[in-house]
């Protein structure tokens, strides 16, 4: 029983879980600000910022995250001589990637706010920025919660790709384990269960929240 691969792999998975969560949360924390900036730029007046944000969003959403991971890993040092440890590259890659998707979430929710709100704000003398900050943004934030939760699930799954740059997250640990024991099926199955332990409760919780918000 104790020497079953299903049990043996557990310490590996717990070790990986820490990295997975660390990278997901740190990456999304940075990605949220990136996405908020890019999303707001995309609903701003045409000009440099809006153009740059559009290019950012379209390029990131149009290319595989694995290619982005390699580019962040090699490109930054190649181009700028920045040498970051691979876990930092991983956080940055998640931030850059999720930022583009979050930008679309931000844009969508901001645009979904009744234009009458903007007009009411402006007609009271609030500036464009004040209207965004005090009127539109707080309302948009509420609506962002479910899609952001969904992005959390996506990014969590994406961290598995960092196994290719040897960041010690869940899937990397799993591969390390079966590299030595040749029990890939058992180890991978347990790894999937670990992911499900986080993703399924999250998505149930999100669905409930969405229901409640629609009900309102």
């Amino acid at each position: 029983m104790m020497d079953s691969p299903y049990i043996q792999v557990l310490p590996f998975l717990f070790r990986g879980l820490g990295w997975t969560l660390l990278i997901t949360f740190s990456g999304l924390a940075v990605g949220f600000w990136l996405g908020a900036a890019a999303g707001l730029a995309r609903v701003s007046r045409p000009g440099f910022f809006r153009g740059a944000a559009t290019v950012y969003v379209e390029v990131i959403r149009g290319t595989p995250i694995l290619a982005q991971i390699f580019l962040v890993y090699f490109g930054l040092s190649d181009l700028f001589g920045i040498n970051m440890p691979n876990w930092l590259a991983a956080i940055l890659a998640i931030a850059i990637n999720s930022g583009a998707y979050i930008a679309e979430i931000v844009r969508g929710t901001v645009q979904s706010i009744d234009p009458g709100q903007r007009e009411a704000g402006r007609s009271l003398g609030l500036s464009s920025q004040q209207t965004m900050r005090f009127v539109i943004w707080p309302q948009a934030m509420r609506r962002m919660i479910p899609p952001l939760g969904n992005q959390f699930i996506i990014s969590l799954k994406d961290t598995s790709l960092f196994s290719v740059i040897a960041v010690g997250e869940i899937l990397f640990q799993t591969r390390q384990y079966y590299n030595r024991t040749f029990a890939p099926f058992e180890a991978l199955t347990m790894a999937c269960l670990f992911y499900l332990m986080i993703t399924i409760p999250s998505s149930i919780y999100l669905r409930r929240m969405e229901h409640r918000m629609e009900g309102k």
Binding site: Q8, P11, F12, R15, F70, Y73, F74, S77, D78, G81, N83, P85, N86, V164, I165, A166, G168, Q173, R175, Q176, Y177, Y178, N179, R180, T181, F182, P184
Partner: protein, 234 residues
């Protein structure tokens, strides 16, 4: 930062040179012990980073890391991209097949067969140059190639001797009989070296330290720890 802190790139799936201990999760192996001994000798502070082999030399070449140690074979082509230390290990390439395979008995039988190896390694280059008629499957990680071999998706694997030997012994220790065995002789004598970006100031101190370790017996100790015997008896 601190000029004495150097960032070292290594692989994490090359037994017994560098791999993760399944009990502790620590990166261990011959290369790891050696580079730590070198660092101590040369007064360097190490920051070790692991990555897939196929990007490792590129990562050192671009200056992403100050050095790389991962059983890297010294070749002329690579010398154009990076500087090498003095050789620290004599290796070579060897073929592995499934234990029950008796159609492949030598290198000559590889023609038309599916041969697994690891991408970016001298094994891949060797296969492309000497066996253009074999069907080469180059995985980013070598373990995937061994798993394909045991599964029967490739007919043979060509890779570095110590690693192949390790897996051959490991696979029969698994309780289900011998699965992989090596055939023939070492195909190409090779030597491993540590890589540095071109013109790196670290080459000389590292060579100096390596010489000292060989002289004071530390190298032999490490060798014995990982290969069960001192270096000279190979």
């Amino acid at each position: 930062g601190d000029p004495n802190t150097v960032s070292v790139a290594t692989d994490s799936g090359f037994v017994p040179f560098e791999f993760i201990d399944e009990n502790t999760g620590e990166l261990i192996g011959f290369d790891i012990d050696l580079i730590n001994a070198i660092a101590e000798e040369a007064g360097l502070e190490l920051r070790i980073n692991t990555m897939e082999f196929d990007g490792l030399i590129a990562a050192v070449h671009t200056g992403r890391h100050d050095m790389g140690i991962a059983g890297i074979t010294i070749t002329e082509a690579r010398k154009e991209q990076v500087d090498f230390s003095d050789p620290y290990y004599d290796a070579g390439l060897i073929i592995a097949v499934r234990a029950d395979n008796d159609t492949i008995t030598s290198e000559a039988d590889l023609a038309g067969k599916r041969v697994g190896t690891r991408s970016g390694t001298t094994s891949e280059t060797y296969l492309r140059e000497n066996h253009p008629d074999a069907r080469i499957v180059a995985f980013p990680g070598i373990v995937e190639a061994y798993m394909d071999l045991t599964a029967g998706r490739v007919d043979a694997v060509l890779y570095d001797v110590p690693n192949v030997r390790y897996y051959a012994s490991q696979s029969d220790g698994n309780g289900d009989g011998e699965q992989i065995r090596t055939i023939g002789d070492v195909l190409q004598g090779e030597q491993y070296g540590i890589v540095f970006p071109k013109g790196s100031p670290h080459v000389e101190p590292v060579n100096q330290a390596l010489r000292t370790l060989r002289e004071n017996g530390t190298y032999d100790e490490i060798h014995a720890k990982w290969f069960g015997e001192p270096a000279d008896s190979e």
